[in-house]
């Protein structure tokens, strides 16, 4: 079984793809059958992925050498693209995580989407997404990865806009696609550069060639450029500043989608891509520093927005952006291990929180404002307590998963700083402060939603088991999944790392700081939003720092800037081009036509209709031509084919 799975890893994405085809062409009319097909395929993939994980994590050879097999996709002289499978601990981990989370979320969706008229369609999209995401994970070739990257983007687009009757959903979907498209443009350029300069897009070959980049006529500056261009893709896909704007809007989609695509899987594809191509980035310290700065800034920036948001899913979305910033930071300081670890734990606790939020929305019939909620934990204990688990995990309270991964990131950042990168201290400070903010805004939400007074107008009820079961599984994962990467027994770091394995001694001081920050954040939230039943202090603070509050509440007006740019610059120049086209280019054309018509009008007076006049002219012409040919220069006659 393990052997089979390793050699047939392409089945993992293929099963959901088949499910998509089956649903679209066969079972579309039957909702029940469609979801069954979809879930069965995903569970099949999960089984295979587990077997792969077993296979990979029991064989130490995989740490150094990944299992790669591929077939040609298309090609011609001097340009061949292969598609294939690349299995190593990182991709095995991702396969396992993605199949697990997707399966759980599909099960959850059978409850959440129960009465939706487009139920079957929803599951077909989820299957397609699963297929693309898994294809992305196992891709052995950058172009293959890019293809899947775009396909997950498509699924994201379709699923954000799933409620097609909502204008906001439609606009959000468009925005998501467009924003990621800008990143993809850069990424495409980067890929093109790699193809042109190194003649291959195969990850293994690139990894072998790039360290010797100077032999391929690539300067360090160009390589930095390539790296930055390639990084544009992840900036957009993983919601990094300044292309993060689509991610919060993406919450217009159904909540399982938010959990699956916009928290656990697709948005981490950017992080995964950087992780996959880290061999490129370690060559260019400049790009690495940029990644670290962007990551840290995004983490802080998004957290600063999250503290004032009111809609439950938006808070979670900004939290996702912030946590993705953490992962980027970890990559930027050169630790694949820490980044992937956070990716792994984050997938569980963030999916958990989104699903729980979905459960809340389900119960409250889509009232999303956290200020309208309260005391829900009494009516919805499973949802509530699993959410609390998620909250503890993200805030970084040991022994929950988030603590270990976040601590790891802080440790590697500190090490980065100690290795002579002065900026590292600033990054560390940002990361640490973000940790505090994270604990605060997350528990602000928890206190407002689940504790405190119940609101009379709400009639919450616990969700069905199909929705709570995934919550419980995810809660368990959120609690324990971090334990494989503790500083004392760092199994994780041993398997997933780049370059030499990371062997830091347990940094107890940092751990203590981290816990302290988390507790401080929770404590502040407790004081402001639980103890103070009327939340007077919180409102007073908001009043006192009105400009700051407004800035944060309006997301630093980034959206407005983009909207201005689109409307005033892009659309205006589009209109300008169009007017140029119809008045200038077409004007020339119509002008020429008018000249022709005018000369026709003039010449028509020659058309007298008098037959004999025509004949007169005709014979005159014959006479003249004959005379010219007969008595004119001799070459004139030869042109017309005559000989004198």
């Amino acid at each position: 079984m393990v052997e089979f799975a390793l050699n047939h890893a392409w089945l993992v994405p293929l099963l959901p793809a088949l499910a998509f085809v089956i649903i679209v062409f066969l079972t579309q009319r039957s909702a029940k059958l469609s979801s069954t097909v979809s879930i069965a395929a995903m569970l099949g993939s999960f089984v295979l992925a587990s077997a792969i994980a077993v296979g990979v994590f029991t064989n130490h050879e995989f740490i150094e050498k990944s299992l790669v097999y591929s077939i040609p996709w298309f090609g011609m002289e001097g340009f061949t693209i292969n598609v294939g499978v690349m299995l190593d601990p990182t991709s095995a981990m991702m396969l396992f995580m993605v199949t697990l989370v997707t399966s759980l979320i599909q099960i959850y969706s059978t409850g959440y989407m129960k009465d939706d008229p487009k139920y079957a369609l929803f599951f077909s999209y989820l299957s397609l997404f699963g297929a693309s995401m898994l294809g992305l994970v196992i891709a052995s070739n950058l172009l293959q990865l890019f293809v899947m990257w775009e396909l997950v983007g498509l699924c994201s687009y379709l699923l954000i806009g799933f409620y097609t009757f909502k204008v906001s959903a439609r606009e959000a979907a468009k925005k998501a696609f467009m924003t990621t498209r800008i990143g993809d443009f850069g990424m495409l350029l980067g890929i093109l550069f790699l193809q042109i300069k190194f003649g291959t897009l195969d990850l293994v070959e690139l990894a072998a060639k790039i360290p010797m980049f100077e032999q391929f006529g690539v300067s360090l500056g160009l390589l930095t450029l390539i790296a930055i261009l390639l990084f544009m893709g992840p900036v957009a896909k993983s919601g990094q500043f300044p292309l993060h704007v689509w991610l919060p809007d993406a919450m217009e989609g159904p909540t399982p989608v938010s959990a699956l695509i916009h928290a656990a899987t697709m948005v981490v594809a950017g992080v995964y891509l950087i992780g996959r191509t880290l061999f490129l980035y370690v060559e260019v310290p400049g790009a690495m520093t940029l990644i670290a700065i962007v990551g840290a800034f995004t983490a802080l920036f998004a957290a600063a927005i999250a503290i004032t948001q009111r809609e439950i899913k938006r808070i979670l979305a900004y939290s996702t952006v912030s946590q993705l910033g953490y992962m980027m930071l970890a990559l930027g300081v050169g630790s694949l291990s820490a980044s992937m670890f956070h990716l792994w734990t984050h997938a569980f606790f963030k999916a958990l929180m989104f699903l729980a939020a979905g459960s809340v929305l389900h119960a409250l019939h889509n009232r999303a404002d956290v200020w309208d909620m309260g005391g829900l934990i009494r009516k919805m204990p499973i949802t509530g307590w699993t959410f609390v688990v998620g909250g503890l995990a993200i805030a970084g309270i040991p022994p929950f998963a988030g603590f270990w991964s976040k601590d790891e990131i802080l440790v590697v950042t500190m090490e980065y700083a100690k290795n002579g990168n002065g900026i590292g201290y600033l990054l560390f400070a940002m990361a640490a402060f973000t940790a505090f903010l994270t604990a605060f805004y997350m528990w602000r939400m928890i206190f407002l939603t689940f504790f405190g007074k119940e609101k009379a107008e709400n009639h919450p009820h616990e969700s069905p088991w199909s929705m709570t079961m995934p919550l419980i599984v995810l809660a368990i994962m959120a609690s324990i999944s971090g334990l494989i990467g503790t500083p004392w027994a760092n199994i994780w770091g041993e398997w997933i790392h780049f370059g030499t394995p990371h062997h830091a001694d347990p940094a107890l001081g940092l751990m203590f700081l981290s816990v302290l920050l988390a507790v401080a954040g929770i404590g502040l939230a407790y004081v402001l939003y639980y103890k103070d039943g009327e939340k007077k202090t919180a409102q007073a603070l908001a009043q006192k720092y009105q400009p700051l509050y407004k800035l944060s509440y309006n997301k630093f007006y980034i959206d407005e800037v983009y909207a201005w740019f689109t409307q005033r610059v892009v659309d205006a120049s589009a209109r300008l081009t169009y007017y140029f086209d119809i008045y200038f280019v077409d004007g020339i054309v119509n002008g020429l036509a008018a000249v022709t018509r005018g000369s026709g009008h003039g010449l028509r007076f020659l058309q007298t209709g008098r037959l004999q006049t025509y004949a007169l002219v005709f014979f005159l012409a014959i006479l003249v031509i004959t005379i010219v040919l007969a008595f004119g220069p001799s070459d004139l006659a030869s042109i017309m084919g005559g000989v004198k």
Partner: protein
């Protein structure tokens, strides 16, 4: 291979047209069915030829009657029907679109008999240009194409910004103007080839062997570039394209955007680049600049459009810019990409126009602000529209992505940052396509459209046929690329020799 498969393929629609002539006017259904059968036979035959072609051997195959049949000896004109890896995709494309265009016109009620006859003649004419290996016959078929289009636009077209008469006239005059330049170039080419070799031979193969002097090549290439370029809607000879498509009936838009434009690209490769390599080398940078301008300019103009057909009209100008860019690279990879992009764009544009045609038939408008929420009533139509749109913005997994990427690889290498502007076009493309799709298909359901029906019966044919080509071509690009490469690589090898010898 002596059975004339290609001539048979060519005759199938003509025969169908002849049969339709004898069908009573009132019997619409029978006319359409005969047309469908005729184009269907042509499609089946071209599929057979496509998959029967031996790529390992390459070169011209399926020569009708085994060898060129002399026709006009004094001019060296022969009935030389054969295909290679360059012609075959175009032949297949023609028949795919021809077949679906019949079904896209299924709901026409006005003068169906005449429409079908003209449509079939049009299809046969276009097909002829792609399988003729003789310059004269190529031109002959090209001229055959022009006239039915004018009649069809003027009778079955629709007016919006411009009248259909204006649109038809513009379209026709542009085509004729292009063919005038072309004719001048071709005659000069032929006369000079006779002067150089002393033998009159109009076949492309023979012309490619002639060593024209460099200065002459430069002049002639310009003539051919303008001629084929205006057919390809090369900027600034593009302005017929949006108006023409907007005015034309669905089937004409499909055929025009889908295949007629491709005659320009095909001719540029087959005649201009292969026969006049030195001229091509001289003009290639200018072609690239025009291509890039076309991409960016038309994409921006498309962004400002409110009429669906105009959006697609400008978008096809933009996509042809990519083709021109790929051709200008003069490399095997770039030209492979350009040919594949022509095929891909043909399928995509045909699907797009057929879907817009169906929308127009149902809502009687193409004005984007008047629409919205159509996907609630017509999910299948929405799928077709979205597939075409996504293919237009180059989504991987659909047929357009790999060709575009291939073009980018070569042009980025050859032209550097100039190509970046072209590549940036994908952003704008995505913007206008998504806007059009969003404002047409999505959003709140509108009660005024509640009566409209989804696609059904014969109307599904364009969606099914073209949609599956889009997907299959996207997943298995090698089906297309191996074929094209087997045709382009030998042609380009000859050019490179010429460039080596002449390129001191």
């Amino acid at each position: 291979m002596t059975f004339p498969f290609l001539t048979t393929t060519l005759l199938a629609p003509i025969l169908a047209a002849l049969i339709i002539v004898f069908i009573p006017k009132e019997n619409d259904k029978l006319c359409k069915s005969v047309a469908a059968v005729g184009t269907g036979i042509a499609l089946a035959l071209s599929l057979f030829v496509y998959f029967g072609y031996d790529q390992s051997v390459g070169g011209l195959q399926w020569v009708d009657f085994g060898q060129p049949v002399p026709w006009i000896n004094d001019l060296g004109v022969t009935w030389y029907m054969a295909v290679d890896g360059l012609s075959l995709p175009m032949l297949l494309l023609t028949n795919l679109i021809g077949f679906t265009a019949v079904f896209a016109s299924w709901n026409v009620v006005h003068r169906v008999k005449e429409l079908m006859i003209l449509l079939l003649i049009l299809i046969a004419g276009v097909m002829g240009t792609f399988i003729a290996q003789d310059l004269f016959i190529f031109l002959l078929f090209y001229e055959i194409v022009v006239i039915p289009i004018y009649i069809m636009v003027v009778i079955w077209g629709s007016s919006k910004r411009v009248t259909k008469e204006y649109a038809g006239m513009k379209l026709t005059i542009y085509l004729l103007m292009g063919s005038a330049f072309l004719l001048a170039g071709v005659i000069a080419l032929f006369v000079n080839s006779v002067n150089i070799t002393g033998v009159a031979d109009m076949s492309f193969e023979a012309l490619a062997q002639v060593a024209f002097p460099e200065q002459l090549q430069i002049y002639l290439f310009l003539l051919l570039l303008i001629g084929f370029g205006s057919l390809l809607s090369m900027w600034p000879f593009h302005s017929w394209s949006p108006d023409g498509y907007a005015g034309a009936p669905t089937a004409v838009s499909m055929i025009h955007a889908g295949i007629l434009k491709k005659i320009g690209g095909y001719g540029l490769i087959r005649l201009a680049i292969v026969v006049l390599p030195l001229g091509a080398r001289f003009w290639a940078p200018y072609m690239a600049v025009l291509g890039v301008i076309g991409v960016a300019y038309a994409a921006m103009a498309a962004l400002a459009q409110k009429d669906l057909k105009y959006v697609v009209g400008y978008s096809s100008v933009s996509h042809m810019g990519y083709v021109l860019l790929g051709l200008a690279s003069l490399g095997v990879i770039g030209i492979n990409g350009a040919v594949a992009a022509m095929f891909a764009h043909g399928v995509m544009a045909a699907l797009f126009f057929s879907m817009i045609g169906f929308i127009y038939e149902r809502t009687h408008t193409r004005w984007i602000p008047d629409m919205g929420g159509l996907s609630h009533y017509t999910p299948k139509l929405a799928i077709g529209f979205m597939m075409a749109g996504l293919a237009s913005l180059g989504l991987p997994g659909l047929i357009t992505f790999v060709p575009e990427f291939t073009i980018f690889v070569e042009t980025f290498r050859v032209f550097g940052w100039l190509a970046v502007i072209g590549i940036a076009g994908i952003i704008i493309t995505a913007l206008y396509v998504l806007r059009a799709a969003a404002n047409t298909l999505f959003g709140p359901a509108r009660p005024e459209f509640s009566h409209i029906k989804d696609l059904k019966g014969p109307e599904m044919v364009p969606l099914v046929v073209l949609g599956s080509v889009l997907v299959i071509g996207g997943i298995l690009p090698s089906l297309l690329f191996d074929m094209i490469d087997s045709g382009v690589a030998p042609l380009l090898a000859n050019i490179n020799d010429a460039l080596q010898i002449g390129g001191k």
